[in-house]
Every structure is written in structure tokens, then in C-alpha cells.
Amino acid sequence: MRLQIKNGVVFDPLNGISGEVMDIFIEDGKIVEECKAERIIDASGKLVFPGGIDIHAHVAGPKVTSGRILRPEDHRIGVEKRWNGIHSGTGFSIPSTRVTGYRYARMGYTTVIEAAMPPLEAKHTHEEMVSIPIIDNAALTLFGNNWNVMELVRNEDYDSLSSFIAWMLRTTKGFGVKLVNPGGVENWGWGKDVDSIHSKVLHFDVTPAEIIRSLAIVNDRLKLPHSIHIHFNNLGHPGNYETTLESMKLVEDLKGERQSMHATHLQFHSYGGEKWKDMCSKSEEIAKYINKHEHITADMGQVIFGDTTTMTSDGPMEFSLYKLSGRKWSNHDVEIETGAGIIPVFYSSKNAVNSIQWAIGLELGLLIEDPWKIFVSTDHPNGGSFLFYPYIISWLMSEKRRKRTISRIHQAVNSRAILGSIDKERDFNDICIMTRSGPARALGLHKYGKGHLGVGADADIAIYDIDPKDVDPSEESNKILKAFRLTHCTIKGGEIVSRGGEILSSVDGKTIWCNPYLRNDEFEKIRKRIERKFYLNYTVSLSNYPVFDAYVPNPMEIRIEVS
């Protein structure tokens, strides 16, 4: 259908447009200069953004479904009935796949990056991504604890390492290179962890620092659109900000066209103190570093008060959380590659640590000045559900609203965090960058039609029922909250998929994946290398290991040619 969005107040930071009243034309799923529209959407007095992009969420795959099976109680809420050909579903922090897609679409999000795909179980991740309607998905393949990676890093064999990464992305239909507690999850195979980025991984004679730097080098050699995407060592431990700073410094010299490292759920990595008793915010130190350097992007990993489910590939971290909470615990080690842990959690506003955690996320969102470097996320569902993004936006835009929340939570937030002293407020342009254009650029997807509204871009568009000229976000934060919860309408690939919260059309989303260039002889060499050891170490055959085309019925393959 040919569409015209008329008189909207348009924000398109990648094209330098900030709050201009203009028309947007859509034809064949793309944005065009102009066309004869069959349908006109009157957007006067409404906010027009590119479709939202979640750079880091856990929405599909083995860990998410382990979480669902661990927590039937989570599915007693968030119940949605089948309606008019639209599927039913359940769940709040770990919603079933169908409603996951609907909920993102209602909020104006059209692309979501699944943050952790274990290669051996990549088929599972893909099966679920295909079951999530409307939104485009991409999955980050886990590399930080892979035996082949560690061996090649130890040998400093960067040629083979880049062939291996290329081969694996192709084999798993993955989008990028993810590291989770590099080295630590391998040690968890023996019930242990690593305590610093310079301690050796048991039996492998490498350090997390070496793994991080080598993967960053190789990632850039392969010219992947996204940088390495890292969940640092020591997540969630008091005093871990030093590990975070050290890890970021490892790749300081590697900055090229884009960042050399995406630091995910940074909130969980910005803690000072030595014990939980004196744990405090170190967001200032972290922000200062990122403000001074150009090689880092990050997402917030905001914590939201209430019940949620934590799930990461960081097996040892989840077990230590379990020992603190004592509720229930699932674990899933994946041979040769990675692990996973899942526990339910309740972030309480009466709890000192949780209140400080809440503050740190927002501090990072405000103190990291350049909105192109820090993006909105809850590390869904670890800090809270993605459904709370509108709350985060309203906090970022209103000091008053933050103060109000601060007055209601544990007062350690005033002594051991600094949010109360920050008066910065984000504007609509910043929010547009932090929720779509920024993630698009950090992912390299802006070159493939995402995160902007220029001619040729994918027609993924969110229209919100709020007029930036008519509202004072600082004073009227409730209006902001309300507007960002449900779009006036969401357009995906040129189709109106949601209007006022009602799902109109359940189109299939695409699976975005990267196919890096690999010379034939390199390909053969690495295949031989893998083949030799595959039979001995794995419990499936090499020929049954790949994600076959049948699992990606709607691919958006990004082929990377090396000039």
C-alpha cells in the first residue's frame, strides 16, 4: 500500500531533522520521495519517530523458554485473548512469543536484537524468533567462552580466529559477536568463575582480557556492522566498576568508523564499594571515561521496581544471585560454548541496593552526555520488562519525576548514588536517538535502512499521540509516559500493524544476519580444523550443527564484501 503520513512532527536525527512538520511517503515498504498515496494518515500534532530498536533484549531461545518453564506464575498475568486472527498469549516478564511481538509493536518498536544465542542451540533461538510476529529480529552469537576461540586467542592466530568467527556467524545465522563474562562461564563448567580480567581461564591458558581484545580486533577485521557486544566480567558485584573501566581500556586504540565495543547493561557494571553493605554508584567515573573517549557505546540496563526474571549466559553470576535470594534456580551449561542461568527476582524500592541500582541506570542515561553513546534498555527481562521503556523515557525527560520517585524509595539512594543531584533533562531529539537512531548506528543497521526516515529506508515508523510543541515534558511527565506506551499507530515495512494498541495485521518479521566474506581456501581450512575436533568434543555431528535455511524463512542477509 502507498501511504502518506501528513503533517507529522518528525524527528530523524540521522538525517538532521529535529521536530520539523513534514510529510512522509511510503511505497513498497520503503520510504520514498513522494508517491500517490492510497491512504493518508493525518499526523498533525503528532510525533513521528523511526521505529524503535532494542539493542539488547532476551526474547527468544533456550534461556527464555527455560525461564517460562521455571515460572508458570509469570504467565498468570499478562494474559491476552485470541482476537480476530491475532494469537493469544500470556506472561509478563517472559511473555510468550506472539504477544512479545505485539507488545513491542504497540510501543512503536520494530527491531529487536536477541542478546545471546548459544551456537549449539541456535536453531531454537531461530525457531522462536520466527514465532515472534511483526518485529525484525537479529541474534548475537555467543563467543566469549568458546573453546576454539580461546585456543586461537592463546595462539594469537588472528587469521584463523577471523575465519572461525565468520564461519560461525554463517553457520548460526548470527548477527554479531557477543561476549558474556569471557572465561568465567568456561570456569563455571567446574563450578568456578574468574575474579579479574587478568586471571587465567582454567586449562586454557588465556585471560578474559586477551579474549576481549582479540575478538575486538577480529570483529573489525571482518568489517562487521556491529562492534563486539560485551557483558563484562564481574557483573553485579560491588566494586566491579574497576573491571568495567579496565575492560573498556582494552580496546581504546581500536576505534575505526564506529565504536570498537558496545558495553551492554552498563548499570550492572557500575558499582563501587566492597560489600553489598557499602555498595554505591560509580556512574560518574564510568560516564567520565565514556565522555572522554569515542570507542564505546552502551545501553543502560535500567532496573525497574517489581518482580521480574533474570536470565543470562553468565551461569556463575546467576548461581551467586541464587545463593542470595534462595528462591529457585535454573542452569543450563552448553558444551564447548557457553552456559545460562535463570532466577526470579524482585527489585524492591524498600531495599537499599535495588534503589541504588535504579538510580545508576538513569545516572548513566544522563551523565553520558552524547545520546549517540547511551541507549535505553532494561536488559529485558533482567532489569525489568521492555514494557517499562516509557517510564525510563519519562524519568530521563523530567527531573521532577525523578525527584518524586527518589522521595519514595530507600534513602540510601541519596547517600550512595548521585541521581538526586543531576538536573539534566533529555529532550525529544535525545530520546529519539537513545531509542532508535543511536542503536541503529551502533549496530550498523542505519546503512541497511533502519533507524531513520530518509528516502530508501525501511518504512518502520512510530507515530505517537503527543505534540512536542504542546507539552512540557519536565512538568507533564505523565503525558510523556502515556504517549510512549501505545502508539497512535505503528507502521512496519509499510503496513499499519498497530493502532491505538490494537494489532491490525500480524505480518512476519525478518531475521537479520551477517555473512562475512571468507575466501574459499580460508573456509576450507577452518572447516577442517573444526571437523577434526568436532566429533571428539561435541555430542552432535558437524553436519547436523548448522542453522539450515529452513529455520530462516524470512532472511535479511547482510553480505559483507571485503574490498
Binding site: A60, P62, T65, S66, R68, I69, L70, R71, P72, D74, H75, V79, E80, K81, R82, W83, H87, S88, G89, T90, G91, I94, S96, T97, R98, L120, E121, K123, H124, E127, E128, S131, W188, G189, W190, G191, H203, F319, Y322, K323, W329, S330, N331, H332, D333, V334, E335, I336, I342, I343, L536, N537, T539, V540, S541, L542, S543, N544, F548, A550
Partner: protein, 431 residues
Amino acid sequence: MTLHTDVVCPFCGCLCDDIAVEVENNEIIEVKNACELGYSKIVNHLERYRSPMIRENGKLKEVSYDDAIEKIAEILSSSKRVLYYGWSNTTCEAQKIGIHLAELTGGVIDNTTSVCHGPSVLAIHNVGYPGTTLGQVKNRANLIIYWGCNPLAAHPRHLSRYTTYPRGFFRQKGYEQRYLVVIDVRETDTAKIANKFIKVRPNSDYAVINALRAILRGHEDVIPPEVGGVPKEELVKLVERMKSAEFGALFFGLGLTMSRGRYKNIENAIKLVEDLNRYTKFTLTPMRGHYNVTGFNLVCAWETGYPYGVDFSKGYPWYNPGETTAVDVLLRGDLDALFVMGSDPAANFPKEVLKKMSEIPVILIDPFPNVTSSFADVIVPSAINGVEAEGTAYRMDSVPIRLRKFIETDFLSDEEIMKRIYESVERRLKG
């Protein structure tokens, strides 16, 4: 002649994917590497149906696929409440459509979990699941425990491929570097080859696990000289062995889930494994039977939020094991029809349930005649998954593996049959 290697065995939850099959003129000449169970499943000399059938005046009459599918659609679209049961011997692709069909018609969907590892799933809901893929065990474990199961009979290659005999990265000497313990109420074949067999009095597993946990937590003093038929010193020794293992793996079967205590046994076993992780590395894995029983639990959980026994009569997924599970739904007697795919409920459901089955239309989709066939009013023969049709299955440790197809057939695959039924029912409900 064509040699197919790395074929996946579609029989038990081991899902061995190293089978070699020689095919000539679309016939299987030889099968290598499979155990006897797998061999006979792949070669299969069982009788097949020749065509779809509909029962008329008590007699089954051969009809076309189209006629059978239309008949099924007619029954499903005119029923108020249908139970969709089975699913453990079919592909995830067919299961997914089955779940949507249940949603479309407001029915109940359940798989064989409710009559086998249902208690394990309930225990997981309560206390969690410290699991692993089997390769982690192969590469690292030096203590293997089988509790209430006899893999040599039910999962014949489990020991040789995954746990006890194979060489692993950190266990280059294989068997020599591992210690095998079997805990059971009788001395099974597996018990006979174990380094240590611990015989438990029937229905005493719960007490034995309790004693192990108490000893582990340093309360050895309160343990009586004998628990569940096991001398105290044996239990103390076992705890020592568990604590000092570099990597321990506990596997359990229906002997634990179906004996007195049921889900409480499993809860306790999970708790034991959690406790052990404070000392060393320990994992737990249920020995799932059918080759894709695990797959159903996963697909059902991601599509609906719940792993089995889902009722759509309210328009959204509702789960309450004991109420929304197959036997309970059948016994209540408010069903209009029973739809069975990939299972033979009549072979193991209780008598009262069979009586209820005989009172309603039964639809059966399966490659082979089975006990349920005699209850069926419509029978649709399907291709054999993993031989004549491809698709996804999940191993007992949740690793997905794609079943291969190496024999051509005119039989439709489960997936294709489900697709056609769904489309026809949808058309009728709209029309």
C-alpha cells in the same frame, strides 16, 4: 546405492545423530550404529496403513487424504471441546500447528508429559532445573549417577555416547576416569555394570534423598543406621563421593517420578543438586523417553507460556495440571472429540479413560496401526518422521536436532497434514 551418514534416530530422547543408512531403490538396505530399538524403528517391518480411513457403520472404509481431512475438519469445527493429545513422536513443526489448532477451536492440548515426566515439570516450577547439555557431561563428568532408570534398556546408547564410556576432552581415558553409580529398587542391567549399585526399598527414594541432603549439610548425627534399606555408611560414602567429584551428573527416570512422593521426590533431588553446587559442579537431567517429548514442552512454552496441558476454552492459554491434563479432561467426560497425533494413548491410559474414549469421535494420525486405532473414527496415515519426513526434534537435554529424510513416500508428513487440517477448520469457522 546411497549412503546417508549422520542420520538422526527418531526413537528415544537420546536422538543419536550418527546413524548411517544405506538406501537402494528407495529401500533401506542397512542401518549402522543404531541400537536395537533405533534399528527397528528405522528399518520398521511393521504393517502400515494403505490409505486414510473413515469409520462408517462400525467399519473402516478407505478414503482419500482430502476426504479424511475434510471429515476431521468437520468434526473439529463443530465440536465445543476437543482434546489434542500425543505430540511426543512428531516434529516441532507439526506440534506448533497443533497448538494453533487447539487455540483456534478453543480446545485442550496435552502431550505425554502428563503421564511420564509431569511430576518433574511440576518440581521444576517449584525449585528450578540445574541442567546441562550432554556434551558437558561427556567432556567433564567423573561421577555419573542414574536414579530410578535403566538406560541400558530404555536409552541403550546413553552411556556409550554421552556419559560413561566416551572419551571426553577432560576425560581422555573415558570409562577409567569415571565412576558410575546406579540407585534403584531392583538390580537392573545398568546396575550390574555400575561401579556401585545402591538398592533402595520401593517408595523410599524421598527418605534417601533427605538423608543425603542432611549428611551433606553436616547433620550426619541425626541419620538412623539405615534409611530406605540403605546402610548409613553407604550414604555417607556416597555424599563424600559427590562432594569430591570434579563434575557430577545425576540422571533420573520414572522410577523416581512415578514412585511414592512423585514431584516431591524430584524437588528433593533438584535441591540436593543445588546444595551440591555449593561444593562442586553438579547437574541433573530427566531421562525423557520419546524422541521429541522435550520439543513439545518447549514449543508449547514459547507459544503459550506453559509446557503442556494447556486449555484454550477461555480464549487464552490456561494451565492447571490435574485439571487441564489429558486423563483428567477425558475422565470429566465433557469432550466432544479426541484428536491424537504421534502417540498411542489407548495403550497406557487407565480403563475408565478408555471407556470415555469409546464414547466420542477419535481422530488418529500415525504411520502405524496401534491400540488407539481400534477406537478411531478417522485414521490418517502419515510419513515416518526422521525416515520419510524431516523436521525439528529436541533431545532430552533440549538440544535441537533436525530429523533427516532419506526415503521417498506418498504419505503426507505430519506437518503437511496439520497444515491442511488447520486451513480447512479456519475456513469453516470463518464461513
